[in-house]
Amino acid sequence: MINQLTNQQIDQIIEGQFGNESKNFFGADKDYILKVIKLKKYFPVKTNFFGKPMAYLKAVDDVTLGIERGKTMGIVGESGCGKTTLGRTILKLYPITEGKVFIDGHDIGETKGESLRQLRPNFQVIFQDPYSSLSPRLPVGEIIGEGVKAHNIVPQNQYKDYIVSVMEMCGLSPRYFTRYPHEFSGGQRQRICIARALALKPKLVVCDEPVSALDVSIQAQIINLMKDLQQKQNLTYLFISHDLSVVEHISDSVGVMYLGSMVEEGPKEMIFANPLHPYTKALFSAVPVPDPNHHMNRVILKGDIPSPANPPSGCKFHTRCPQAKPICKSQVPIYKEYESGHKVACHLY
């Protein structure tokens, strides 16, 4: 059995490696299930003659965040800003370049091999595209049951009953047990994906754009299902999406990412009522409102997101920022607390 670290031990490790500041980032009295400290994920893009990497693509650059048990954190941002890479690095689907990840008292960066495999049921993932993330050759019962068998979640004689109960919980009829994924619609497939993740009784679920490939009416069904399951099983979600209205609906706290860094983070109410960072403002104003009588002052950003292999100096957003000042070009803004729980990285504050 792998020994679980206590909160005090984790705090000691953080203080030893990153100093007091990082330790104080997390509230002392709160029960965090996920702690991410200064996480970096660089991909080599250019190698020299001997195969040594010369240039890096900084997909995730210095991200610090924490999620309390039973809560949902939403991550928003443009495509290519590193949302998905962040989710995958937390699950150690990619090796960590630098920084620490603690899930439920386990140092994920240090865990390897068999012990990591034994931890896997605790953190599961729901992928973006339900059309490509299910094996076309396995029937639904086996897709959901594969992990259950591998990790011995239930005794063998109860296996079938358990799978059926999971399927019913996710709104799938038991008669789908021997059907194949191609016979299902997008919404049903996403239910299969959710059932596969939840069959392992996870504590943390990373949802990587689970509803962006679905229709509006199906979206509502899946979001309702995910909320119900969270209440029943006390799940924690890291919800990655570019749809702000969905994130607002499901999350307790929201983090906004730009070019691999977190630019703003805080409780949902604060972020949506009072967005501070110019990028967050632009992002929120770009959401179309389904009401023809509504007229809004839109901040339209010019140009595209810069390449993460060669990010701009200083504040990464200064090339597109409508409120950029000379200082933004030279100095990297510090990620600091503006009001309790509401953090922002911008020179304006």
């Binding site: 443009e78 495509s79 290519g80 019962g141 079938k160 059926v164 038991p174 008669r175 047990f177 021997t178 059907r179 194949y180 191609h182 016979e183 619609s185 997008g186 919404g187 229709d215 509006v216 009416s217 199906i218 979206q219 509502a220 069904q221 979001i223 309702n224 909320k227 570019h242 749809d243 702000l244 209205s245 969905v246 607002e248 609906h249 949506f272 632009a282 992002l283 929120f284 104003s285 770009a286 959401v287 179309p288 409102v289 389904p290 009401d291 023809p292 009588n293 509504h294 839109r298 339209i300 950003l301 140009g303 595209d304 997101i305």
Partner: protein, 477 residues
């Protein structure tokens, strides 16, 4: 025949056993004998339509019609597009009619699989044959066509000075080099042809109205890209990866403007790329699709659609694959184009926010039929069909706090063997005995607002109640 095979083979599994005996008689089961009969009738139908299409000489009178209302650019009237599949006929578009007025945006909303995209593909005769066929109905489109003389040659317009005498210029061959008389060594001269504001040679034109549903393929090529342009859903898959952006852009210009050279087309393309907000137009012109980002590619697609000054742009989910910030840029661009060029836009999307922002008229489709249409304000403020209401409720709104989202129960019915009653009957919250009868006709509520529901009066009365209470409150104040 995926359905037939799958239902026949699934007999294993303890859980399945209780259901298999009942399932065999279910609506989805098709026996081998039935399959053969379906294939036979399909072949007969398909060959009938294909023969009509493959005729070499089709008289123009056969496909010319007149518009019902001259202020429209395009009229779709009772369109039926069917797919002859192996398990039965799928009526993807089943009696759709709507108008696209000049200079306005028509939004088409609906779930995936409701026939939005097939309607737009029918407008350009791009439905994948031979299974997909336009069976019935008219798509009337008014355009300016080149006039031809008896020898089927274009009639050029000559440039005149103020006194009416034609001007002369040095004659050139098709590459733009001057023709030299071999004997004398002097340049040959000819009458100068008039050029339009883009520098292209002008020919005589006339107004014509065509029925697109019956047009032969070679006549159709004049309309595709020139009069009706389409922006496809995924910019990743609709650009050819082995040709440069420039090659793909100028292809349409060269095809549709007779007498234009490569350089003229290049100028025009660069102008278009500038218009859609691409800063380094010349660099993009030389680059390949994979070198551009998603937003840039979508803008190239829009530039391609605009390059021939089309009267109608069909945008099939132009922003679904893009982020909100890029989406805002693209929508702004489309709005500007509509304002400046007076282009009509048909916008297909399932995002109600985009529709509310862009459209003047809205068409709501469900299972291949129009269930409600009207102006944006009518559809968003006083929706009458339960499906329209459900769609609006199920979209989460920023700032709108609700614990549970409304979701329409059930799913779209099987497109093969559609029921005779209202297609929405099984999922409808307000169904009554009347709904079990015939399919409801489109009822005219106001000059622009139409709805296809038996119980529309129930909701109408509610709105009037709210309206009257509001008015009475206003009087008191």
């Amino acid at each position: 025949m995926p359905y037939a095979l799958s239902t026949m083979n699934y007999k294993s599994g303890a859980i399945m056993e209780q259901n298999t005996t009942k399932k065999k008689k279910g609506s989805q089961f098709v026996s081998n004998k039935e399959l053969k009969a379906i294939a036979k009738s399909n072949n007969a139908e398909i060959s009938k339509f294909e023969k009509l299409k493959k005729r070499k000489f089709v008289k123009e009178e056969e496909y010319t019609t007149t518009l019902l209302d001259e202020s429209n650019v395009l009229e779709v009237d009772n369109l039926h597009t069917y797919f002859y599949s192996d398990v039965g006929v799928v009526k993807a578009v089943n009696g759709v009619s709507f108008n696209v007025p000049r200079g306005s945006t028509v939004g088409v909303v609906g779930e995936s699989g409701c026939g939005k995209s097939v309607t737009s593909l029918s407008m350009l005769q791009l439905v994948a044959g031979p299974q997909g066929q336009i069976v019935e109905g008219e798509i009337r489109f008014k355009l300016k066509d080149y006039k031809k003389d008896e020898n089927k040659k274009l009639i050029p317009i000559m440039a005149c000075d103020d006194f009416g005498t034609t001007l002369t210029e040095v004659a050139t061959d098709k590459y733009g080099t001057p023709i030299v008389d071999k004997k004398t060594g002097a340049f040959t001269t000819c009458d100068k042809q008039a050029r339009d504001e883009h520098g292209f040679k002008m020919f005589e034109m006339e107004d014509k109205t065509f029925n697109i549903a019956k047009m032969p393929i070679d006549a159709m090529r004049k309309i595709r890209g020139k009069e009706i342009a389409m922006i496809f859903q995924e910019p990743m898959t609709s650009l050819n990866p082995v040709f440069t952006i420039g090659y793909q852009l100028r292809e349409a210009v060269l095809e549709h403007t007779p007498g234009s050279t490569k350089e003229e087309a290049r100028e025009r393309c660069l102008e278009m790329l500038g218009l859609v907000g691409i800063a380094m137009a010349e660099r993009v012109y030389e680059s390949y699709p994979h070198q551009l980002s998603g937003g840039m590619r979508q803008r190239v697609m829009i530039a391609m659609a605009l390059s021939c000054n089309p009267k109608l742009i069909i945008a099939d989910e132009p922003t679904t694959a893009l982020d909100v910030t890029i989406q805002a840029q693209i929508l702004e661009l489309l709005r500007n184009i509509k304002k400046e060029h007076g282009t009509s836009i048909m916008l297909i999307t399932h995002d109600l926010g985009v529709i509310a922002e862009m459209a003047d008229y809205v068409v709501v489709m469900y299972a291949g039929r129009v269930i409600e249409k009207g102006t944006v304000f009518e559809i968003f403020d006083t929706p009458l069909h339960p499906y329209t209401l459900g769609l609006q409720k199920s979209k989460p709104v920023v700032g709108g706090n609700t614990d549970k989202l409304y979701s329409i129960p059930g799913q779209v019915p099987n497109p093969i063997n559609m029921p005779k009653h209202c297609y929405f009957y099984e999922r409808c919250k307000y169904r009554t005995e009347v709904c079990k009868g015939d399919y409801p006709e489109l009822v005219q509520i106001s000059p622009t607002h139409q709805v296809s529901c038996h119980n529309y009066k129930r909701k109408q009365a509610e709105y009037e109640k709210v309206k009257s209470t509001k008015e009475s409150k206003g009087d008191k104040k």
